[in-house]
Amino acid sequence: MTSPSPHLDLDALADALAGEGDPAGADHLAGCGSCASRLDELVAAEARVVAVLSALPLPAAPAGLTGRLDAALAVEARTHPAVVGASVTALPVARAPQHRRWLPAAAAAVLLVSGAGLGVALLGNGVGGSDSDTATTTADALADGDDAGLDLLLTESGADWADPAAGTTALPRVLSGAADRFALQGPAPASDAESGVASVDELEVLRTPEGLAACLSAVLPPDEPDLTPLAVDYASYDGRPALAVVLPDPDPAQVSVFVVGAGCDAQDDQTLFFLRAPRP
Protein backbone atom coordinates (compact mmCIF):
# COMPACT_ATOMS: atom_id res chain seq x y z
CA MET A 1 0.00 0.00 0.00
CA THR A 2 1.34 3.44 -0.83
CA SER A 3 1.47 6.28 1.65
CA PRO A 4 -1.60 8.50 1.58
CA SER A 5 -1.11 12.08 0.33
CA PRO A 6 -0.67 14.71 3.04
CA HIS A 7 -3.71 16.59 4.21
CA LEU A 8 -4.54 19.82 2.49
CA ASP A 9 -3.47 23.06 4.08
CA LEU A 10 -5.75 26.10 4.19
CA ASP A 11 -4.55 27.51 0.87
CA ALA A 12 -5.07 24.18 -0.85
CA LEU A 13 -8.55 23.91 0.63
CA ALA A 14 -9.30 27.46 -0.52
CA ASP A 15 -8.07 26.64 -4.01
CA ALA A 16 -10.27 23.55 -4.06
CA LEU A 17 -13.22 25.68 -2.99
CA ALA A 18 -12.49 28.11 -5.83
CA GLY A 19 -12.36 25.24 -8.30
CA GLU A 20 -8.68 25.93 -8.79
CA GLY A 21 -7.20 23.06 -6.79
CA ASP A 22 -4.76 20.62 -8.30
CA PRO A 23 -5.77 17.07 -9.20
CA ALA A 24 -3.75 15.54 -6.37
CA GLY A 25 -5.63 17.66 -3.87
CA ALA A 26 -8.93 16.67 -5.39
CA ASP A 27 -7.97 13.02 -5.15
CA HIS A 28 -7.08 13.47 -1.53
CA LEU A 29 -10.30 15.26 -0.74
CA ALA A 30 -12.26 12.48 -2.32
CA GLY A 31 -10.84 10.03 0.16
CA CYS A 32 -10.28 12.05 3.31
CA GLY A 33 -13.19 12.74 5.58
CA SER A 34 -11.13 15.06 7.77
CA CYS A 35 -10.22 17.37 4.91
CA ALA A 36 -13.75 17.17 3.52
CA SER A 37 -15.03 18.29 6.88
CA ARG A 38 -12.59 21.18 6.98
CA LEU A 39 -13.66 22.17 3.49
CA ASP A 40 -17.28 22.24 4.63
CA GLU A 41 -16.31 24.57 7.44
CA LEU A 42 -14.44 26.76 5.01
CA VAL A 43 -17.44 26.98 2.69
CA ALA A 44 -19.59 28.31 5.50
CA ALA A 45 -16.90 30.64 6.78
CA GLU A 46 -16.14 32.14 3.37
CA ALA A 47 -19.83 32.79 2.83
CA ARG A 48 -19.89 34.82 6.03
CA VAL A 49 -16.75 36.68 5.02
CA VAL A 50 -18.16 37.55 1.60
CA ALA A 51 -21.33 38.85 3.22
CA VAL A 52 -19.34 41.09 5.54
CA LEU A 53 -17.08 42.36 2.75
CA SER A 54 -19.94 43.21 0.45
CA ALA A 55 -21.56 45.21 3.23
CA LEU A 56 -18.52 47.33 4.03
CA PRO A 57 -19.48 50.99 3.89
CA LEU A 58 -17.64 53.37 1.62
CA PRO A 59 -14.97 55.10 3.67
CA ALA A 60 -15.49 58.82 3.82
CA ALA A 61 -13.24 60.70 1.47
CA PRO A 62 -11.10 63.24 3.30
CA ALA A 63 -12.16 66.84 3.23
CA GLY A 64 -10.47 68.58 0.38
CA LEU A 65 -9.92 65.48 -1.73
CA THR A 66 -12.15 66.78 -4.48
CA GLY A 67 -10.46 70.16 -4.50
CA ARG A 68 -7.06 68.53 -4.49
CA LEU A 69 -7.91 66.34 -7.46
CA ASP A 70 -9.45 69.27 -9.31
CA ALA A 71 -6.31 71.28 -8.68
CA ALA A 72 -4.05 68.51 -9.88
CA LEU A 73 -6.06 68.10 -13.05
CA ALA A 74 -6.17 71.84 -13.60
CA VAL A 75 -2.42 72.04 -13.26
CA GLU A 76 -2.00 69.07 -15.55
CA ALA A 77 -4.19 70.69 -18.16
CA ARG A 78 -2.29 73.92 -17.85
CA THR A 79 1.17 72.47 -17.96
CA HIS A 80 0.80 69.48 -20.25
CA PRO A 81 -1.59 70.43 -22.98
CA ALA A 82 -0.45 67.71 -25.32
CA VAL A 83 0.98 64.71 -23.58
CA VAL A 84 2.44 62.02 -25.74
CA GLY A 85 3.24 58.75 -24.09
CA ALA A 86 3.96 55.22 -25.14
CA SER A 87 0.38 54.39 -25.87
CA VAL A 88 -1.02 57.83 -25.56
CA THR A 89 -1.80 60.21 -28.32
CA ALA A 90 -1.79 63.92 -27.90
CA LEU A 91 -4.89 65.13 -26.18
CA PRO A 92 -6.74 67.59 -28.29
CA VAL A 93 -7.91 69.38 -25.19
CA ALA A 94 -5.53 72.25 -25.70
CA ARG A 95 -6.20 72.58 -29.37
CA ALA A 96 -9.93 72.73 -29.27
CA PRO A 97 -11.01 75.17 -26.66
CA GLN A 98 -14.72 75.18 -26.20
CA HIS A 99 -15.10 77.42 -23.23
CA ARG A 100 -13.25 80.36 -21.96
CA ARG A 101 -13.60 79.09 -18.43
CA TRP A 102 -10.19 78.16 -17.22
CA LEU A 103 -11.13 76.39 -14.07
CA PRO A 104 -11.86 73.99 -12.62
CA ALA A 105 -10.08 70.93 -13.82
CA ALA A 106 -9.38 70.39 -17.43
CA ALA A 107 -10.74 73.71 -18.57
CA ALA A 108 -7.40 75.25 -17.83
CA ALA A 109 -5.94 73.42 -20.78
CA VAL A 110 -7.49 75.80 -23.21
CA LEU A 111 -5.13 78.49 -22.06
CA LEU A 112 -2.05 76.64 -23.00
CA VAL A 113 -2.10 77.24 -26.68
CA SER A 114 0.43 79.97 -26.26
CA GLY A 115 1.09 79.48 -22.60
CA ALA A 116 4.64 78.32 -22.77
CA GLY A 117 5.84 81.40 -24.58
CA LEU A 118 4.04 83.73 -22.27
CA GLY A 119 5.37 81.91 -19.29
CA VAL A 120 8.90 82.30 -20.49
CA ALA A 121 8.33 85.95 -21.21
CA LEU A 122 6.99 86.50 -17.74
CA LEU A 123 9.89 84.70 -16.25
CA GLY A 124 12.35 86.74 -18.24
CA ASN A 125 10.78 89.99 -17.23
CA GLY A 126 9.93 89.00 -13.75
CA VAL A 127 13.01 87.34 -12.48
CA GLY A 128 15.67 88.77 -14.66
CA GLY A 129 14.31 92.25 -14.60
CA SER A 130 15.82 92.98 -17.97
CA ASP A 131 14.56 93.18 -21.49
CA SER A 132 11.20 94.33 -20.31
CA ASP A 133 9.47 96.33 -22.96
CA THR A 134 6.33 96.60 -20.96
CA ALA A 135 5.55 96.19 -17.36
CA THR A 136 1.86 95.69 -17.48
CA THR A 137 1.39 92.46 -15.60
CA THR A 138 1.29 91.87 -11.91
CA ALA A 139 4.40 89.79 -12.14
CA ASP A 140 6.20 92.42 -14.17
CA ALA A 141 5.22 95.17 -11.84
CA LEU A 142 6.34 93.20 -8.84
CA ALA A 143 9.65 92.41 -10.43
CA ASP A 144 10.14 96.04 -11.29
CA GLY A 145 9.63 96.96 -7.69
CA ASP A 146 6.34 98.55 -8.42
CA ASP A 147 4.33 96.55 -5.95
CA ALA A 148 3.45 99.68 -4.07
CA GLY A 149 1.50 100.89 -7.06
CA LEU A 150 -0.31 97.65 -7.54
CA ASP A 151 -3.70 97.09 -6.14
CA LEU A 152 -2.56 93.79 -4.71
CA LEU A 153 -3.91 92.80 -1.36
CA LEU A 154 -1.37 90.85 0.64
CA THR A 155 -2.57 89.25 3.85
CA GLU A 156 -1.53 86.85 6.55
CA SER A 157 -4.80 85.35 7.62
CA GLY A 158 -3.31 82.51 9.62
CA ALA A 159 -5.83 80.24 7.92
CA ASP A 160 -5.20 76.64 7.03
CA TRP A 161 -6.70 76.33 3.58
CA ALA A 162 -7.09 72.59 4.01
CA ASP A 163 -9.89 73.43 6.39
CA PRO A 164 -13.12 72.89 4.49
CA ALA A 165 -14.49 75.99 6.15
CA ALA A 166 -11.68 78.20 4.85
CA GLY A 167 -13.78 79.33 1.93
CA THR A 168 -16.40 80.75 4.22
CA THR A 169 -14.24 81.87 7.12
CA ALA A 170 -10.83 82.95 5.88
CA LEU A 171 -11.88 84.22 2.49
CA PRO A 172 -14.09 87.08 3.68
CA ARG A 173 -11.40 88.23 6.09
CA VAL A 174 -8.77 88.12 3.37
CA LEU A 175 -10.79 89.93 0.74
CA SER A 176 -12.16 92.55 3.11
CA GLY A 177 -8.66 93.33 4.33
CA ALA A 178 -9.68 92.38 7.85
CA ALA A 179 -6.90 89.83 7.98
CA ASP A 180 -3.45 91.04 8.91
CA ARG A 181 -1.85 92.92 6.07
CA PHE A 182 1.56 92.10 4.82
CA ALA A 183 4.29 93.98 2.98
CA LEU A 184 6.77 92.40 0.64
CA GLN A 185 10.33 92.20 1.79
CA GLY A 186 13.68 92.63 0.16
CA PRO A 187 15.32 89.86 -1.81
CA ALA A 188 15.92 86.65 0.07
CA PRO A 189 19.52 85.75 0.79
CA ALA A 190 20.71 83.62 -2.05
CA SER A 191 22.41 81.20 0.31
CA ASP A 192 19.17 79.75 1.60
CA ALA A 193 17.78 78.90 -1.76
CA GLU A 194 20.98 77.46 -3.08
CA SER A 195 22.30 75.63 -0.07
CA GLY A 196 19.09 73.70 0.33
CA VAL A 197 19.13 74.43 4.03
CA ALA A 198 15.61 74.64 5.31
CA SER A 199 14.71 78.16 6.14
CA VAL A 200 12.84 78.95 9.30
CA ASP A 201 10.30 80.72 7.15
CA GLU A 202 9.54 78.46 4.22
CA LEU A 203 7.66 81.29 2.55
CA GLU A 204 10.65 83.59 2.70
CA VAL A 205 11.29 83.59 -1.02
CA LEU A 206 7.64 84.22 -1.74
CA ARG A 207 7.71 87.24 0.52
CA THR A 208 10.02 88.99 -1.91
CA PRO A 209 8.75 90.79 -5.01
CA GLU A 210 10.90 88.58 -7.21
CA GLY A 211 9.76 85.37 -5.59
CA LEU A 212 6.11 86.32 -5.68
CA ALA A 213 6.43 87.49 -9.29
CA ALA A 214 7.90 84.18 -10.34
CA CYS A 215 5.24 82.23 -8.53
CA LEU A 216 2.40 84.32 -9.94
CA SER A 217 3.77 83.93 -13.43
CA ALA A 218 3.14 80.22 -13.05
CA VAL A 219 -0.20 80.53 -11.31
CA LEU A 220 -1.84 83.15 -13.51
CA PRO A 221 -3.48 81.86 -16.65
CA PRO A 222 -1.12 82.37 -19.58
CA ASP A 223 -3.68 84.15 -21.70
CA GLU A 224 -4.48 86.52 -18.88
CA PRO A 225 -1.06 87.46 -17.53
CA ASP A 226 -2.38 90.87 -16.63
CA LEU A 227 -4.96 89.39 -14.32
CA THR A 228 -4.49 90.90 -10.91
CA PRO A 229 -5.09 88.61 -7.97
CA LEU A 230 -7.79 89.80 -5.64
CA ALA A 231 -5.54 88.83 -2.78
CA VAL A 232 -2.51 86.78 -1.90
CA ASP A 233 -2.68 85.20 1.52
CA TYR A 234 0.42 83.94 3.29
CA ALA A 235 -1.05 81.08 5.21
CA SER A 236 -0.82 77.28 5.38
CA TYR A 237 -2.23 74.13 3.92
CA ASP A 238 -2.54 71.04 6.05
CA GLY A 239 -0.11 72.49 8.53
CA ARG A 240 2.54 73.42 5.95
CA PRO A 241 3.28 76.99 4.90
CA ALA A 242 1.43 77.83 1.71
CA LEU A 243 0.28 80.74 -0.37
CA ALA A 244 -3.35 81.21 -1.31
CA VAL A 245 -3.75 83.18 -4.52
CA VAL A 246 -7.30 84.47 -4.85
CA LEU A 247 -8.29 85.19 -8.43
CA PRO A 248 -11.42 86.43 -10.11
CA ASP A 249 -13.51 83.57 -11.40
CA PRO A 250 -15.26 83.55 -14.77
CA ASP A 251 -18.40 83.38 -12.68
CA PRO A 252 -18.56 86.84 -11.09
CA ALA A 253 -20.35 85.40 -8.10
CA GLN A 254 -17.36 83.27 -7.23
CA VAL A 255 -13.63 83.46 -6.75
CA SER A 256 -10.97 80.91 -7.57
CA VAL A 257 -8.34 80.15 -4.98
CA PHE A 258 -5.09 78.44 -5.83
CA VAL A 259 -3.23 77.23 -2.78
CA VAL A 260 0.40 76.71 -3.70
CA GLY A 261 3.35 75.32 -1.81
CA ALA A 262 6.32 77.28 -0.53
CA GLY A 263 8.38 76.11 -3.48
CA CYS A 264 6.14 77.80 -6.03
CA ASP A 265 8.24 79.36 -8.76
CA ALA A 266 8.04 80.14 -12.44
CA GLN A 267 8.68 76.54 -13.42
CA ASP A 268 6.36 74.82 -10.99
CA ASP A 269 3.45 76.46 -9.26
CA GLN A 270 3.20 73.52 -6.82
CA THR A 271 -0.51 73.82 -6.58
CA LEU A 272 -1.75 71.90 -3.58
CA PHE A 273 -5.38 72.72 -3.65
CA PHE A 274 -7.96 74.51 -5.71
CA LEU A 275 -11.13 75.98 -4.37
CA ARG A 276 -14.00 77.85 -5.89
CA ALA A 277 -15.99 79.71 -3.35
CA PRO A 278 -18.75 82.27 -3.35
CA ARG A 279 -17.37 85.77 -3.62
CA PRO A 280 -17.92 87.35 -0.22
Binding site: D11, A14, S34, A36, R38, L42, A105, A107
Partner: protein
Protein backbone atom coordinates in the same frame (compact mmCIF):
# COMPACT_ATOMS: atom_id res chain seq x y z
CA UNK B 1 -21.18 47.76 -2.10
CA UNK B 2 -24.02 49.34 -3.79
CA UNK B 3 -23.49 50.91 -7.14
CA UNK B 4 -23.41 48.78 -10.23
CA UNK B 5 -20.91 45.98 -9.79
CA UNK B 6 -18.63 46.27 -12.73
CA UNK B 7 -20.62 49.18 -14.03
CA UNK B 8 -24.10 48.81 -15.42
CA UNK B 9 -24.31 49.02 -19.23
CA UNK B 10 -26.04 52.39 -19.23
CA UNK B 11 -23.43 53.78 -16.88
CA UNK B 12 -20.69 52.46 -19.12
CA UNK B 13 -22.29 54.23 -22.05
CA UNK B 14 -22.28 57.44 -20.06
CA UNK B 15 -18.65 56.88 -19.07
CA UNK B 16 -17.64 56.29 -22.66
CA UNK B 17 -19.39 59.43 -23.75
CA UNK B 18 -17.61 61.45 -21.09
CA UNK B 19 -14.26 59.98 -22.01
CA UNK B 20 -14.83 60.66 -25.69
CA UNK B 21 -15.89 64.20 -24.89
CA UNK B 22 -12.74 64.70 -22.85
CA UNK B 23 -10.57 63.47 -25.69
CA UNK B 24 -12.51 65.71 -28.05
CA UNK B 25 -11.70 68.73 -25.93
CA UNK B 26 -14.61 69.13 -23.57
CA UNK B 27 -12.91 70.70 -20.55
CA UNK B 28 -15.55 69.52 -18.12
CA UNK B 29 -15.93 65.92 -19.23
CA UNK B 30 -13.04 64.37 -17.36
CA UNK B 31 -14.07 66.09 -14.15
CA UNK B 32 -17.54 64.65 -14.55
CA UNK B 33 -16.09 61.19 -15.09
CA UNK B 34 -13.96 61.54 -11.99
CA UNK B 35 -16.88 62.78 -9.96
CA UNK B 36 -18.90 59.71 -10.93
CA UNK B 37 -16.26 57.26 -9.76
CA UNK B 38 -14.25 59.19 -7.20
CA UNK B 39 -15.70 57.71 -4.03
CA UNK B 40 -15.35 54.10 -5.08
CA UNK B 41 -11.86 54.66 -6.45
CA UNK B 42 -10.93 56.40 -3.24
CA UNK B 43 -12.18 53.41 -1.27
CA UNK B 44 -10.13 51.08 -3.43
CA UNK B 45 -6.96 53.15 -3.04
CA UNK B 46 -7.43 53.60 0.68
CA UNK B 47 -8.06 49.93 1.36
CA UNK B 48 -5.21 48.84 -0.87
CA UNK B 49 -2.66 51.14 0.73
CA UNK B 50 -4.04 51.48 4.22
CA UNK B 51 -2.87 55.05 4.52
CA UNK B 52 -5.02 58.06 3.75
CA UNK B 53 -2.29 60.37 2.55
CA UNK B 54 -0.73 57.75 0.36
CA UNK B 55 -4.13 56.81 -0.98
CA UNK B 56 -4.82 60.41 -1.91
CA UNK B 57 -1.45 60.64 -3.62
CA UNK B 58 -2.05 57.38 -5.47
CA UNK B 59 -5.50 58.43 -6.56
CA UNK B 60 -4.14 61.73 -7.81
CA UNK B 61 -1.35 59.95 -9.70
CA UNK B 62 -3.87 57.54 -11.16
CA UNK B 63 -6.29 60.20 -12.31
CA UNK B 64 -3.51 62.23 -13.88
CA UNK B 65 -2.39 59.10 -15.67
CA UNK B 66 -5.93 58.43 -16.84
CA UNK B 67 -6.27 62.05 -17.93
CA UNK B 68 -3.13 61.80 -20.02
CA UNK B 69 -3.90 58.35 -21.33
CA UNK B 70 -7.55 58.85 -22.16
CA UNK B 71 -6.89 58.98 -25.87
CA UNK B 72 -5.25 55.58 -25.60
CA UNK B 73 -8.33 53.94 -24.12
CA UNK B 74 -9.12 51.31 -26.70
CA UNK B 75 -12.69 50.72 -25.74
CA UNK B 76 -12.41 46.98 -25.39
CA UNK B 77 -12.94 47.21 -21.66
CA UNK B 78 -15.41 49.04 -19.54
CA UNK B 79 -14.34 52.49 -18.54
CA UNK B 80 -14.75 51.52 -14.90
CA UNK B 81 -12.47 48.52 -15.41
CA UNK B 82 -9.90 50.79 -16.98
CA UNK B 83 -10.14 53.28 -14.12
CA UNK B 84 -9.81 50.50 -11.57
CA UNK B 85 -6.73 49.23 -13.37
CA UNK B 86 -5.11 52.65 -13.37
CA UNK B 87 -5.80 53.08 -9.66
CA UNK B 88 -4.60 49.60 -8.75
CA UNK B 89 -1.41 50.13 -10.72
CA UNK B 90 -0.77 53.44 -8.99
CA UNK B 91 -1.29 51.77 -5.62
CA UNK B 92 0.92 48.81 -6.44
CA UNK B 93 3.64 51.18 -7.62
CA UNK B 94 3.54 52.86 -4.25
CA UNK B 95 3.55 49.57 -2.40
CA UNK B 96 6.58 48.46 -4.34
CA UNK B 97 8.38 51.68 -3.53
CA UNK B 98 7.78 51.26 0.16
CA UNK B 99 8.19 47.50 0.22
CA UNK B 100 10.08 47.61 3.46
CA UNK B 101 7.42 49.63 5.17
CA UNK B 102 4.52 47.70 6.69
CA UNK B 103 0.99 48.58 5.78
CA UNK B 104 -0.72 50.62 8.42
CA UNK B 105 -4.16 49.35 9.24
CA UNK B 106 -6.78 51.97 8.59
CA UNK B 107 -8.63 52.31 11.84
CA UNK B 108 -7.61 51.68 15.38
CA UNK B 109 -8.82 48.21 16.03
CA UNK B 110 -8.43 45.29 18.29
CA UNK B 111 -6.35 42.32 17.34
CA UNK B 112 -7.83 40.36 14.49
CA UNK B 113 -9.06 36.94 15.32
CA UNK B 114 -11.60 37.62 17.97
CA UNK B 115 -13.62 34.58 18.96
CA UNK B 116 -16.83 34.15 17.03
CA UNK B 117 -19.12 34.79 19.97
CA UNK B 118 -17.36 38.06 20.78
CA UNK B 119 -17.43 38.97 17.12
CA UNK B 120 -21.16 38.45 16.94
CA UNK B 121 -21.64 40.82 19.82
CA UNK B 122 -19.91 43.69 18.08
CA UNK B 123 -21.88 46.29 16.26
CA UNK B 124 -21.74 46.86 12.56
CA UNK B 125 -19.28 49.70 12.88
CA UNK B 126 -16.88 47.69 14.96
CA UNK B 127 -17.25 44.80 12.56
CA UNK B 128 -16.35 47.02 9.64
CA UNK B 129 -13.30 48.31 11.47
CA UNK B 130 -12.27 44.80 12.31
CA UNK B 131 -12.65 43.69 8.72
CA UNK B 132 -10.68 46.67 7.46
CA UNK B 133 -7.86 45.84 9.85
CA UNK B 134 -7.89 42.18 8.83
CA UNK B 135 -7.88 43.16 5.16
CA UNK B 136 -4.81 45.29 5.73
CA UNK B 137 -2.94 42.25 7.01
CA UNK B 138 -3.57 40.13 3.91
CA UNK B 139 -0.86 39.64 1.30
CA UNK B 140 -1.33 42.45 -1.15
CA UNK B 141 -2.28 40.28 -4.12
CA UNK B 142 -5.04 38.65 -2.09
CA UNK B 143 -6.15 41.95 -0.65
CA UNK B 144 -6.46 43.61 -4.04
CA UNK B 145 -8.32 40.65 -5.55
CA UNK B 146 -10.79 40.66 -2.67
CA UNK B 147 -11.22 44.41 -2.84
CA UNK B 148 -12.03 44.23 -6.53
CA UNK B 149 -14.38 41.26 -6.40
CA UNK B 150 -15.96 41.21 -2.96
CA UNK B 151 -15.84 44.89 -2.00
CA UNK B 152 -15.94 46.81 -5.27
CA UNK B 153 -18.24 44.21 -6.78
CA UNK B 154 -16.41 43.61 -10.05
CA UNK B 155 -17.09 40.29 -11.77
CA UNK B 156 -14.11 37.95 -11.67
CA UNK B 157 -13.35 38.41 -15.37
CA UNK B 158 -13.22 42.19 -14.97
CA UNK B 159 -11.00 41.87 -11.92
CA UNK B 160 -8.75 39.63 -13.99
CA UNK B 161 -8.59 42.37 -16.63
CA UNK B 162 -7.72 44.94 -14.00
CA UNK B 163 -4.93 42.78 -12.61
CA UNK B 164 -3.76 41.32 -15.89
CA UNK B 165 -3.93 37.76 -14.61
CA UNK B 166 -6.12 34.76 -15.54
CA UNK B 167 -9.55 34.56 -13.97
CA UNK B 168 -8.53 31.38 -12.17
CA UNK B 169 -5.76 33.27 -10.43
CA UNK B 170 -8.23 35.84 -9.23
CA UNK B 171 -10.52 33.09 -7.92
CA UNK B 172 -7.66 31.46 -6.08
CA UNK B 173 -6.43 34.74 -4.58
CA UNK B 174 -9.93 35.64 -3.47
CA UNK B 175 -10.57 32.25 -1.93
CA UNK B 176 -7.25 32.14 -0.12
CA UNK B 177 -7.73 35.67 1.11
CA UNK B 178 -11.26 34.93 2.33
CA UNK B 179 -9.96 31.90 4.18
CA UNK B 180 -7.38 34.03 5.96
CA UNK B 181 -9.98 36.63 6.74
CA UNK B 182 -12.25 33.91 8.08
CA UNK B 183 -9.50 32.88 10.46
CA UNK B 184 -8.73 36.46 11.46
CA UNK B 185 -12.37 37.27 12.06
CA UNK B 186 -13.07 34.12 14.02
CA UNK B 187 -15.39 32.60 11.47
CA UNK B 188 -13.11 29.62 11.13
CA UNK B 189 -11.38 27.61 13.79
CA UNK B 190 -7.65 27.85 13.48
CA UNK B 191 -6.94 24.19 13.59
CA UNK B 192 -3.89 22.89 11.82
CA UNK B 193 -4.16 20.30 9.11
CA UNK B 194 -4.21 16.93 10.78
CA UNK B 195 -1.02 14.95 10.66
CA UNK B 196 -0.42 12.67 7.77
CA UNK B 197 -2.70 9.71 7.99
CA UNK B 198 -1.12 6.31 8.41
CA UNK B 199 -2.53 3.50 6.32
CA UNK B 200 -3.93 1.76 9.38
CA UNK B 201 -5.51 4.92 10.72
CA UNK B 202 -6.99 5.68 7.35
CA UNK B 203 -8.53 2.28 7.22
CA UNK B 204 -10.11 2.79 10.63
CA UNK B 205 -11.40 6.29 9.89
CA UNK B 206 -15.03 5.94 8.89
CA UNK B 207 -15.05 9.45 7.44
CA UNK B 208 -12.28 8.63 5.06
CA UNK B 209 -14.72 6.58 3.08
CA UNK B 210 -17.18 9.39 2.88
CA UNK B 211 -15.31 11.06 0.11
CA UNK B 212 -15.86 14.41 -1.52
CA UNK B 213 -15.28 15.72 -4.94
Amino acid sequence: MTTGPGGAPDLDVRDRELLAAHVAGDPDAFGALVAAHRDRLWALALRTLGDREEAADALQDALLSAYRGAAGFRGDARVTTWLHRVVVNACLDRLRRRAARPTVPLPESGAPGEPADRHDALGARETAMEVEAALALLPVEQRVAILLVDVQGLPVDQAAEVLGVPAGTVKSRCSRGRARLALSLGHLRNRPAPPAVTPSAAASDPQSRGGRT
